[in-house]
Point group: C2
Chain length 655, copies 2
């Protein structure tokens, strides 16, 4: 057994030990990182402004473990620092129903600030948190009242920093001079399968400096004192985010130290006991020595004073700045009210409607903070007042993300996780492909991020197949827990925003580039039910036409033609399938009566979404190939998106 120099080192070794115990008990997990990164985690939690008794404290420092496969050691750290975890929770690591899942989940484990797992996401999400903090600080803090004023820490590994998203996020953080962002890089020169040298020759310091970062290096990343020194140094940075490169050893003190082999293979209980002996801590599983227990109780109270001061400050803020406080934490009803006054009476593109609505929300005190990936002025998701966010204009609401979609999505998640702001992220629908996983994370974490995605179909025309969504809307619809709304006209767009505000769900708005005729539905508010009758049959119900977005007016056109030849159809607009399917069966059957199985669904994208509505015969008109470059209407016509095709199909069904 090695001699332990100080009690803190013993605490760190206990954190290591508990992580290995978790992994051995589960016979599943990642021991290498657990041994290597413990001093970094300890140093961060020790030096962070946190209160484990109130893990949701608004002004706490945010801490993100981007390399989420290190969950075991995050849980043991949280446990030692006094968050609401029990030893039994550590014992049920990675088991079904436990609060200690395989990768950190923010809504499952107390103290986890972000769900992580897929590499790179956490790093960018932390940038979002720091960005949110800087904006709230500038816009909502009052003189001598630092209501929001905290650091954001992120721990990341080689994998995180190899992912493209990390470069995008790094550049945004550098450009925006997010000096309160401190990233700690677990630099162990090992990736999952081999030495880093096999796949990279990157000079990390040079890389981050090229993006405007402050870079510090801790040569002995297993020495918490060195790390703490660097953290104190980083906190002094005035105009740059800081990267602390910690040279660590994967599988520290194990027989596999420094080797890729210990990345994902659990040590047995026997091996774990051996390592515990080397670490100078109890080799009895989950046993913690008393001196460590006692010392940790002290650690748990480090931010007590700051916390109590802030509580007082919050009380005062709430009294003096009632409106601001409401805007930050309870502004949704006001926003809904503002929107409710809008009514569109002209045929405009739904992207234009979206822009108008966003600006209506922003017309008074508001907490909107979002942006676009260089196309905000085309998606129209741009707040005309206040200009672009920049280090010199941190209270501005528009974030110029640059051409960095993937980071935009994860940063949006960070903003939403931070709290206090309603964020939005906009680009052309086709480029949602670039941020697929980030959008999935919004849905997985159930964050009210608004994805404003315009240029929604082959109707974009001339730009051709690389820019024409085909499978994108359906690709988003099938993400669990994501609300996808494709409004048929400007007024449905308004209802879409009301839906998003009411539900507080992650929502994708699918908007058109081209003008869409007003459908003039009298019961437009029913759009909030996801699907509703836009135009009822006159007498007898011969068939039902179902569509969303631009295809609804196509269906109305077809209805007109059909009525001329004596066929009586109903047109149903279905902006949000998910919401429609959440309605009770009575309503669903009212809109789509089971007695009428002659149904034609129309979509300027893949057909897959619609078969569930054509059960029992019926037709789906859609596009299951790539688009073409040319005039939008001509392209649509080429693919059979015409009133004539609809008419033909209805008549065929009638036979």
């Amino acid at each position: 057994m090695e001699k332990i120099n100080d009690i803190e080192e013993k605490v760190i070794n206990t954190i290591r030990k508990l992580a290995l115990d978790e992994i051995a008990e589960a016979n599943s997990g990642h021991p290498g990182i657990a041994l290597g990164i413990a001093p970094m985690l300890f140093s961060v939690y020790k030096n962070a402004k946190i209160n484990p008794q109130d893990s949701q404290w608004f002004n706490r420092d945010r801490i993100v473990l981007s390399c989420g496969h290190g969950s075991s050691v995050l849980y043991s750290t949280l446990f030692m620092f006094g968050y609401h975890l029990e030893l039994d929770d550590l014992k049920s690591f990675r088991k079904l129903g436990s609060i200690t899942p395989g990768h950190p989940e923010h809504d499952v484990t107390d103290g986890v600030d972000a769900s992580t797992g897929a590499l790179g996401q956490g790093f960018a999400t932390a940038v979002g948190m720091a960005l949110a903090e800087s904006h709230i600080r500038a816009k909502f803090n009052k003189q001598n009242m630092p209501f929001c004023d905290h650091n954001t820490f992120v721990l990341c590994g080689d994998g995180d920093l190899m992912e493209g998203i990390s470069y995008e996020a790094m550049n945004i953080a550098g450009k925006f001079k997010l000096n309160k962002l401190i990233a700690l890089y677990d630099s162990n020169n090992i990736t999952m399968t081999d030495n880093l040298d096999l796949v990279s020759c990157e000079n990390t310091q040079q890389r981050f400096e090229s993006a405007g970062w402050n870079v510090l290096t801790v040569l002995d990343g297993e020495n918490h004192k060195e790390i703490e020194k660097a953290i104190r140094e980083a906190k002094k940075s005035k105009d740059k985010p800081t990267l602390i490169i910690c040279k660590t050893v994967i599988g520290y003190k194990s027989k596999l130290a420094g080797q890729a082999k210990c990345h994902g293979k659990p040590f047995t209980k026997e091996e774990t006991a051996e390592i515990c002996k080397t670490l100078g801590v109890s080799d009895v599983p989950f046993k913690i020595d008393d001196d460590v227990q006692n010392y940790c109780k002290k650690l748990q109270k480090t931010s007590e004073k700051a916390y109590n001061n802030w509580l007082k400050l919050e009380k005062e803020y709430k009294q003096k700045y009632r409106k601001d406080y409401k805007v930050l934490f309870n502004g949704k009803d006001d926003m809904i009210e503002r929107i409710s006054k809008i009514s569109f009476d002209k045929d405009i593109a739904t992207r234009d409607a979206g822009g108008a609505i966003l600006n209506k929300i922003a017309s008074k005190d508001n907490n909107l903070f979002g942006g676009g990936a260089d196309v905000a002025k085309s998606t129209m998701a741009y707040i005309t007042e206040g200009g672009d966010y920049s280090p010199k204009n941190r209270s501005a609401s528009n974030i110029p993300y640059g051409i960095r979609e993937h980071a935009m999505s994860a940063i949006s998640n960070g903003i939403a996780l931070h709290g206090g702001l309603q964020t939005f992220a906009s680009t052309f629908l086709i480029f949602s492909d670039y941020m697929k996983y980030g959008i999935r994370q919004s849905a997985l974490m159930d964050l009210p991020v608004w994805y404003i995605l315009s240029h929604d179909s082959i109707y974009v025309g001339e730009d051709g197949p690389s820019h024409q969504p085909i499978e994108q809307v359906e690709g988003l619809r099938i993400i669990p827990n994501l609300c996808v709304i494709r409004p048929a006209d400007a007024n449905e767009t308004k209802e879409a925003f009301v839906m998003a505000l009411k539900s507080q769900k992650p929502t994708a708005f699918i908007l058109s580039r081209q003008k869409l005729p007003l459908i003039n539905s009298k019961n437009i508010e029913d759009a909030q039910k996801g699907g509703y009758i836009v135009s009822k049959e006159n007498k007898k119900l011969d068939a039902i036409l179902i569509a969303s977005g631009s295809e609804v007016s196509l269906c109305l056109e077809a209805k007109q033609k059909l009525s001329e030849s004596g066929v009586d159809v109903r047109v149903v607009s279905m902006p949000c399938q998910e919401e429609f399917l959440r309605q009770d069966k009575v309503y669903q059957n009212k809109v789509l009566p089971k007695t009428c199985l002659r149904r034609v669904c129309v979509d300027a994208g893949v057909k897959e979404a619609w078969y569930k509505f054509t059960q029992g015969g019926g037709v789906v008109i859609g596009i299951n190939s790539f688009g073409e470059s040319g005039n939008g209407k001509e392209v649509a016509s080429l693919f059979g998106l015409t009133a004539e095709t609809i008419v033909k199909n209805v008549k065929k069904l009638m036979k």
Copy 2:
């Protein structure tokens, strides 16, 4: 009118002029880049080894315009250099059915080496081409026979270089010392909406140097002589790829020079005529001065000698190295034959089957060249012989991509576009989200890239929802022209590879992490039809169970249970829906007779894919929420993926 210094400058101005004429005629396109980038394009084509009369010449230099919105000026350049484009083609720019679409498409326009449009893709694709060249050169060239030995040029803009994929690709190129890759960066400090300064403070030179690149700067990027000098310099690089930063002016010589406004807004015909006057070229639309015409004829023959020498060399190579030549260009039958000898008689994971098959293909002379994003040893898509590709081992077949999925996909496209190699890209299925657009590009370009995606469902278990695919298989299925195959066992996996080899289609193999029981089908070869009867009913057809992958054996288990209670069902394995739907109606009806609408589809993912088979009632068992961390079987059970659930649903249908 300005005085033109030399004839080449006039050629460049004519290229500019024609591009503007195209845009004005179409009233659509991107004039800013056309004016700015013309000297770069001219310099590249002039100094490249190409033969416009044989645009598919195997040993030509590859040229990729990553900033594909500059298509107009690419077409005018190709036209001036003598590729198979007519003035009429330029006149029908961006029109439906033309060979001059809105963004470059490699299978539409002669001389276009890669389809581009979404930013960053082309840059990474070019890295793939250079990588392919380096591998073929090492593995297939013979002494004094440089069969493959060329440069790869890529032109890119600020947008390309802001995307995360460009960083991933940059690092791969730097690590692999792809010295024959020359990237030219159109550095005009303007993005679509504003000045670059709004979104970036990056030091590009430092950035590329941090990744092991050679960086040159051309201060006057509108001066082709300076650019050509830099290209000549870049060609001398022995062990680094080169970035040439060309400081250019967007909208050069127009009234909007240097402004974002001229990014995407066409000049009118009148404005175009004005600019032509300034440029010293004819202001009559599409008119080319005789001196320019004549000079270009000379330019078109620059590589004539190299071309003719190579033709001779090819002839000799073909004679002397018949086998190598066949492996490069016609090896698929041999590969199929090798696979055909495999038969699996043990229950193994389909990822293991995939690995065995890949290695069987690689057991003799082969042109396999692919890799994984740090998980090749878990996806099993790793060729055991020959080790990892590196600058010192360029003939090795495994590409260690690092944790860079997005670039991996686009690089795979580049390898496939290059020709001569069968490439594969592997990672966990969940991370296909990171490369969604790259996969889409494989499909759009119809390239035979193999995506080997393992860990295909919630059965991955402990890693939890961030690692458990739910919507991913369906998300891939709906990409047009992508063949998605999810085999039920090891032997179906074999059929899947045969399918991919026969079809030469972009293919995604969806493989399990866990062991799958052999389904022991007698007509396993019918798997190649996409769907087939695995287990027929005994006497009367009470119901049909349909599934793919791991759910097929679940259905077989349910069948067993059902037969015990006198219910007689058929089990259909549907590894590839797309292929099944391509079969004739007779076959489809044989497998899924219309007379039996009692159908139960089972999927460990979203239900959407299956409704088309349950038309007229029937049940889909699937998961439309996120997964859970825990033991795989327990998680599956939680979501109702059990034989019991299937039995219950069949019995319900029977009532």
